[in-house]
């Protein structure tokens, strides 16, 4: 085979890097309303096309169209808008608090609000999310108090996690929000296990796992799909494809598969791809998948197509690896703007009421922040205690930890 050509390594690169002008005009986005809506008990092999398209409801004119439209009442839509606005205002304040030195770290979900907010509305009480660090929308939509969230961010004397965890690593069983891990992907098989447990007990509650585009490359993604596929676990496996994993574009994790949703096909798991910036579309797809799970039809994989509009975290500066204008150029728009426009088109909303709502939401967040700060911030005021560090390592403190706590002077 001396005639064989030299092999070459193929290293995918994003189309645009700093210094180039992002232009997505070549990207085809399916029209809103153009993707069919199969019955929830359709065999997975009959809906493979849904992993290669994008389910959309809101069209450019701001109308909700097609078979996935019409799932939400006017009140629900208005509530959804408000929740997204709250998430955005919360992010803005906490980002600023970090910049002011009130905490060490923060992560925004700017541009991705519709996904968590709409999904949470589709769940029932008792269902359990296994989230990543970018699903604060689940907590806010579930009514978890902003003050508690902020106290976690500040690691203060009222921090529900007692100062132990990195900011944003919330936990609230009561709100169906599993303790966030810093290790990517581990929550995915855990979600499957929780769902299996529910099935073992003959319960009706279901689980939802969350993962980022980049993290689908982690091995635990596979573990989760294998177990979910084999035991037909009542779980929704959500992939938030926000195009970036820190500085790495989604093509590095995705490789040759075209979409992340397609990963489900290797497992016979129905896979849907949805416009993640389209609140009604996210809600409708979530409902569809949740009904499948609840009817014991097994897992569903959902890829949400969105864009990480902000930096990865407060430790990151994206201008080093992607054009500043890319977010603006991104063709699926902003979820808050799009739902707002839809409501205006429906004559349920106006620019004036929106401006007023912005102010109200901000006031609410600021009030919560004041209250939270009265319990301390990372470096000032009351604090989580060093004594607490030794608690909860085990259910009961064993002798060696008691000795160490004493040695530490607590």
């Amino acid at each position: 085979m001396t005639s064989a050509p030299s092999l070459r390594l193929h290293v995918p690169e994003p189309e645009f890097r700093p210094g180039t002008k992002p232009d997505f005009s070549g990207v085809t986005i399916p029209h809103a309303g153009s993707v069919r809506r199969p019955p929830v008990d359709t065999a997975p092999e009959e809906i493979r096309d849904l992993a290669y398209s994008i389910i959309r409801v809101l069209n450019r004119a701001g109308e909700a169209v097609g078979p996935w439209a019409g799932e939400l009442s006017d009140e629900a839509l208005l509530a959804g808008l408000r929740t997204m606005m709250k998430v955005r205002a919360y992010d803005a304040r906490m980002q600023m608090a970090q910049r002011q030195g009130k905490t060490s770290f923060y992560m925004q979900c700017t541009g991705e609000e519709a996904i968590a907010c709409a999904f949470q509305m589709a769940l029932e009480p008792g269902d359990m999310n296994f989230p990543t660090y970018r699903q604060q929308g689940l907590l806010i939509a579930s009514g978890y108090p902003l003050v508690d969230m902020m106290c976690q961010i500040y690691s203060n004397s009222r921090d529900p996690l007692k100062g132990r965890q990195l900011p944003v690593m919330y936990s609230s069983k009561a709100h169906g929000f599993f303790s966030i891990s810093g290790n990517l992907g581990t929550q995915y098989p855990q979600a499957v296990g929780w769902a299996m447990a529910s099935a073992i007990k003959g319960d009706t509650r279901i689980a939802a796992g969350w993962i980022g585009d980049g993290s689908t490359a982690e091995s635990d993604f596979h573990s989760a799909l294998v177990f979910a596929s084999t035991y037909k676990a009542p779980v929704i496996l959500n992939i938030v494809n926000n195009q970036w994993a820190i500085s790495t574009f989604q093509g590095i994790a995705r490789g040759g598969s075209g979409t992340f949703a397609a990963r489900g096909h290797g497992f016979g798991i129905p896979a849907l791809r949805v416009d993640g910036n389209d609140y009604p579309a996210v809600y409708a797809v979530a409902k569809w998948a949740i009904e499948r799970a609840r009817r014991n039809l097994g897992p569903t994989l959902i890829e949400y197509v969105t864009y990480r509009a902000a930096a990865h975290s407060t430790s990151d500066d994206p201008s080093a690896y992607r054009p500043k204008e890319e977010s603006e150029a991104w063709p699926l728009g902003d979820p808050v703007e799009r739902l707002k426009n839809h409501l205006i088109v429906k004559q349920l909303w106006s620019d004036e009421r929106h401006a007023q709502a912005v102010a109200e939401v901000e006031a609410e967040v600021i009030a919560a922040q004041k209250e939270a700060e009265s319990f301390g911030t990372l470096h000032t005021g009351p604090k989580a205690s060093g004594r607490d560090m030794f608690v909860d390592v085990f259910k009961e403190m064993p002798p060696h930890l008691r000795r160490q706590r004493q040695e530490a002077g607590y």
Partner: protein, 337 residues
């Protein structure tokens, strides 16, 4: 009282707990229909149904990861890793998840799982069926680590492990499954039925975690051992005629330092024996602890007798295994020092 092999005792512990508590579920590779490659879960699927005992895909991270999810839901999974040598793919779920969950969520969630795994060599299993990774667990805060050495303890400790609200690593010395083993591979195997600790009560009883057992009282030196090495130490004591006090640690973490200190203060000499590679093995922690707590009582250096810092070889298994001769030599060295 019935006598049982260690395999039967472990099977029985599962049976007792599955009958007592609907939330106990058992799974792992080949664990369901077949009952495990060492048969420790034999018959459980048939008795409790596929819902409570089932085969899993070959994915150790998935086994532990789903167990954690189930535990967070409220179940008490007791899972098997087919050999301890194959726990590495699950190590992230054990260290970063099971061990940390209660602490990081401030008691909002917890992971009361038991992870059983056959451990140790002596069966010509070579490097991937012989490892003793206990030190890789004792370094991880939030995990409890248990190593039974006989049927009675195995059943009682496994019941305690399943009932414990913390994640427990349960290491089963496979060389002891069918009989006590003193390292004399050249002699015929003695079955469990000839050993008093194979008398295992029926039904429920516990052996508490965190409590060592003095297996041979003695005045000359203290031996800290666990699993197979307990019998090797007994053989060495018999063969050297040295009056060793042999402590079977049973639980490595939390460690029963009271029993250890009392013994070393009495004997003033200490030998530590384990099968794992030496460097950074659990013997290092034992040595450091004894030195810290008993420095002024020690009359001789603490000696470690361990596996060598090499992979566990196939043909040279008995050159690797810290057998009675090596342990006996250590006894002599410590007595002469």
């Amino acid at each position: 009282m019935p006598t049982m092999s260690m395999i039967e005792a472990i099977r029985d512990a599962h049976d007792v707990m599955m009958a007592r508590d609907d939330n106990v579920v058992v799974f792992g590779e080949d664990v369901g229909y077949f009952g495990g490659v060492f048969r420790c879960t034999r018959g459980l699927q048939q008795k409790y149904g596929r819902n409570r005992c089932f085969d899993t895909p070959i994915n150790e991270s998935g086994i532990v990861g789903t167990a954690i999810g189930m535990a967070a839901y409220g179940l008490r999974p007791c899972v098997e890793i087919q050999f301890a040598d194959y726990m590495y793919p699950a190590y992230d779920q054990l260290v970063s998840e099971a061990a940390r969950l209660r602490h990081r969520s401030a008691n909002d969630f917890s992971a009361p799982i038991t992870v059983r795994m056959p451990t140790g060599g002596g069966i010509f299993g070579a490097q991937t069926h012989s490892q003793s990774p206990e030190a890789l667990f004792t370094h991880v805060c939030g995990l409890k680590t248990v190593v039974p050495s006989n049927p009675y303890d195995a059943k009682g400790l496994l019941i305690s492990a399943i009932e414990t609200d913390d994640p427990v690593i349960f290491l089963e010395p496979k060389r002891l499954y069918n009989g006590p083993f003193d390292g004399h591979h050249e002699r015929p195997v003695v079955p469990w039925s000839k050993h008093p600790l194979s008398e295992v009560p029926e039904g429920y009883y516990t052996v508490p975690l965190g409590v060592a057992s003095v297996r041979r009282p003695g005045a000359a030196l203290t031996v800290l051992a666990y699993g197979t090495m307990v019998y090797v130490a007994e053989a060495a004591a018999a063969e050297t005629g040295i009056d060793a006090e042999i402590i079977d640690l049973r639980t490595l973490l939390p460690l029963d330092t009271d029993t250890i200190v009392a013994s070393v203060e009495k004997t003033r000499r200490c030998v530590i024996v384990h099968e794992a590679t030496r460097t950074s093995g659990f013997g290092a922690e034992l040595s450091a602890t004894v030195q810290e707590l008993c420095f002024y009582h020690l009359e001789a250096p603490i000696v470690r007798v361990t596996g060598w810092d090499t992979p566990y070889p196939h043909a040279q298994e008995w050159a690797y295994f810290p057998g009675p001769q090596r342990v006996g030599e250590a006894f002599r060295r410590v007595m002469e020092a």
